[in-house]
């Protein structure tokens, strides 16, 4: 199968609650009472699909949101609570036709066997539009929700113990993705034969034990779910540092990074490409997207004023791991094209207020990029891999005897 020619820029949108600004829920467009209904999420994804976006990601976590990086809080003035992202994606899949669905999964406390069949099934119910965004959890309170392992409370971020601990979580996540991927391949595409003459439903020589044995877990296989339509659904991860860059380089199809300028973007890309080479994957396609928080308004100055108003409601200026953009769709298009020149192949935009900034992306930014010939005018492929110009991979076990 040949890869579909990719469009010049790829665009994804990161969905989280009512938006990425902590006061976003207070905007009249925000619909905070509907956060736990299917209709709310269906409307957001329909809007993203209307804008021909490549995919949406859905944030998730195994504990309540918090204003602290690693500890819980008891704030009542921000959105708390969320639905399981994989099931939310599955609920939306039959209502959409083209857009990719990429839920967040936490590797640290979950079973790769369960997750592999869940994403394979998301791929079936969406007709080949599934992916996952893998995340680790270093939060002691989330570990206590499972009671199966102790996570030390990180106090000094730069201590060697912390570095070792976090590196261990990322190594485990890499093993996790390895198991998930092997399980997707554990059935060859033509394993189901329905041979009435011999009474055999499957050709069992085309099912494979994955026999994974790692430091953290062993998984035998095969999966209970046949190989999904895309063969390998999309694997993505957010990375801010060398250790997670290595996870991206070893296991991902798309990495999200957080450059603050084009020089920074080039440096990150160089590091990821070097890791990719070290992992022996230099010849394989790997998209690197920049994450940006966006406040978008047509009128010059309006977006910055809106951010200021939201910051006042929140009681503090909004800060992010990613670059925070305020401006017009045309200014954002300029910035994306400038970043595009560094070798980044796309962007994952985090709308500050979903009810406002998502339509600003789909109805403002997208037409602007289309006018510049920098974004698709129609969906050109039937699968998420296809939209990203990624071929359907051969099965790693197909030639095993």
């Amino acid at each position: 199968m040949t890869a579909t020619p990719a469009s010049p820029l790829h665009l994804a949108v990161a969905l989280d609650g009512t938006g990425w600004h902590p006061a976003s829920w207070r905007e009249p467009v925000a619909r905070p009472r509907e956060l736990f209904t299917a209709g709310y999420w269906a409307d957001l994804v329909a809007e993203a699909e209307h804008g021909l976006l490549d995919f949406v990601t859905i944030e998730d976590g195994l504990g309540p949101q918090s204003s602290h990086f690693l500890d819980p809080d008891d704030r009542t003035d921000q959105v708390r609570g969320r639905l399981d992202a994989v099931l939310t994606a599955a609920r939306i899949a039959p209502l959409t036709r083209h857009i990719g669905l990429v839920p967040t999964v936490v590797a640290t406390h979950t079973e790769p066997f369960h997750l592999s069949k869940a994403i394979a099934t998301l791929d079936y119910v969406s007709g080949g539009r599934a992916g996952l965004r893998v995340q680790i959890s270093a939060r002691p309170n989330e570990a206590a929700h499972f009671g199966r392992r102790t996570v030390p409370r990180i106090t000094a971020y730069d201590s060697p113990d912390t570095a070792d601990f976090v590196a261990g979580l990322f190594d485990e996540a890499a093993d996790y993705v390895e198991v998930v991927r092997r399980l997707w391949d554990s059935w060859e595409d033509d394993a189901e034969i329905r041979d009435v003459a011999t009474g055999r439903f499957i050709d069992r020589d085309k099912l494979h034990y994955i026999d994974f044995e790692g430091r953290h877990f062993s998984v035998k296989g095969p999966s209970i779910t046949p190989r999904p339509p895309q063969g390998q659904p999309l694997v993505t991860a957010l990375a801010h540092d060398t250790v997670p860059y290595r996870l991206v380089a070893r296991q991902a199809d798309v990495g999200y990074v957080t450059p603050h300028d084009t020089g920074h973007a080039r440096a990150i890309l160089a590091e990821i490409r070097a890791e990719q080479e070290a992992a022996g994957r230099a010849d394989q396609p790997l998209h690197v997207f920049a994450d940006l928080v966006v406040f978008l308004d047509e009128e010059p100055g309006a977006a910055a004023a809106r951010k200021e108003r939201l910051d006042t409601l929140a009681g503090e200026p909004y800060t992010s791991d990613a670059l925070v953009f305020t401006g017009t769709p045309s200014e954002l298009a300029d910035l994306l094209q400038e970043f595009g020149g560094t070798g980044l192949t796309g962007f994952r935009l985090r709308p500050a207020v979903l009810g406002h900034d998502l339509p600003a992306v789909t109805r403002g930014l997208v037409p602007e990029l289309q006018r510049r010939g920098a974004f698709r005018r129609a969906y050109e492929a039937g699968t998420l891999r296809g939209l990203l110009g990624l071929a359907r991979p051969a099965n790693r076990y197909a030639h095993a005897v």
Binding site: T121, D203, T225
Partner: protein, 456 residues
Amino acid sequence: MTRPQKQTKQIHLAAHFPGVNNTTVWSDPRAGSHIEFSSFVHFARTAERAKFDFLFLAEGLRLREQGGHIYDLDVVGRPDTFTVLAALAAVTDRIGLTGTINSTFNEPYEVARQFATLDHLSGGRSAWNVVTSWDAFTGENFRRGGFLPQEERYSRAKEFLATAHELFDSWRGDEIVADQTGGTFLGDPEAGAFAHHGEHFDIHGRFNVPRSPQGRPVIFQAGDSEEGREFAAAEADAIFSRHGTLEAGQAFYRDVKSRLPKYGRRPEDLLILPAATFALADTDAEAEELAREVRRRQVSGATALRHLEFVWNRDLSAYDPDGPLPDIDPDVDSDHLARGRAQVRMYRDPLATAREWRELAEANNWSIRDLVIHTGNRQNFVGSPSTIAKTLNEYVQADASDGFILVPHLTPGGLDEFADKVVPLLQEEGVFRTDYEGTTLRDHLGLRSPVTAVQP
């Protein structure tokens, strides 16, 4: 025997998606995919069109093996239960969505999140068939391996369910105020707080899914052991039982319902819903013929040999399925050839079973295949639409059950005829709904809302 005068019961009906066993006839030219979403959509919409209470999905977490090989004669493979149910919530409106989820190779926080999410995303239609597993064979697919001793499977299941209930109940349902002007999202800073310190689970913190429309999913139990029955009487809203005959059904029904008072529960708080297979045709005679034909398709020569191996515990592939039974005796010393199956535990005394079967086969001049067909399960209900409607109703009114979970032999169209021809007769009889009266699965099943443990 006289019964006290009582009200006519309403029948509950559910649809079991055809499973990975030889009840499912994949060799029929009409048999469709067991994986493609379109099959699930067809099946669920048929059941909803017929106003069924719920759809039921089974689950197994390791492919079955026999003689060291993956068992290849039945349907193999299924989608992930939660994911396919969430997707079905998008293409259905009222029907309940019941998933079989294992309490051994899962953790309460994650499963509670998944059920609470499914309940939100379906508007209150989720149900959980709680099953256990202890075998190291399945454990090879999971982080902990075969960690749980057999005798602890129910104690873990009980504590798992109790813990999940604590998580569901950690939100009362009134915490989200989302006052956009005043700036208060959460009315209670402690929403979702929980702490459970038990033998199997020692967890604490904050549950992060607010209370769902049903509060808790409807709980099913499927085990038939003494422990299983007691667990159901204490905890379950419904039992998925295997007692499909009138007498066995009545005995089971009496037994389980009589256990309820000691838990302060009423008879109608626990529904008995046996699995039921059927062969439906225009006339009774045609249905009998169809039943025979389906049985032969369910038991191919190859399947007959493998089933005989459950008892003999030897490789019998050299035998002719159309010939006589083996004259050698079962191997009672070796580990069992078949792995990942419940059936093998049914034959407690293989030598006696083998003797009995040889005698049966000789007396009737049966081949191996004939014997397996005759000793295997016949369809529970065979007949014309009116015969089946009448018999189903008789069973329910005679307290052999409160309804049935129908297990058709064809995917995805195996319910079509039942929906079109049997359901209208039950509706005319006034024993089955003509439309949904409520929106949640609890409404359909006539179950009370769960009492919240945490009081405001």
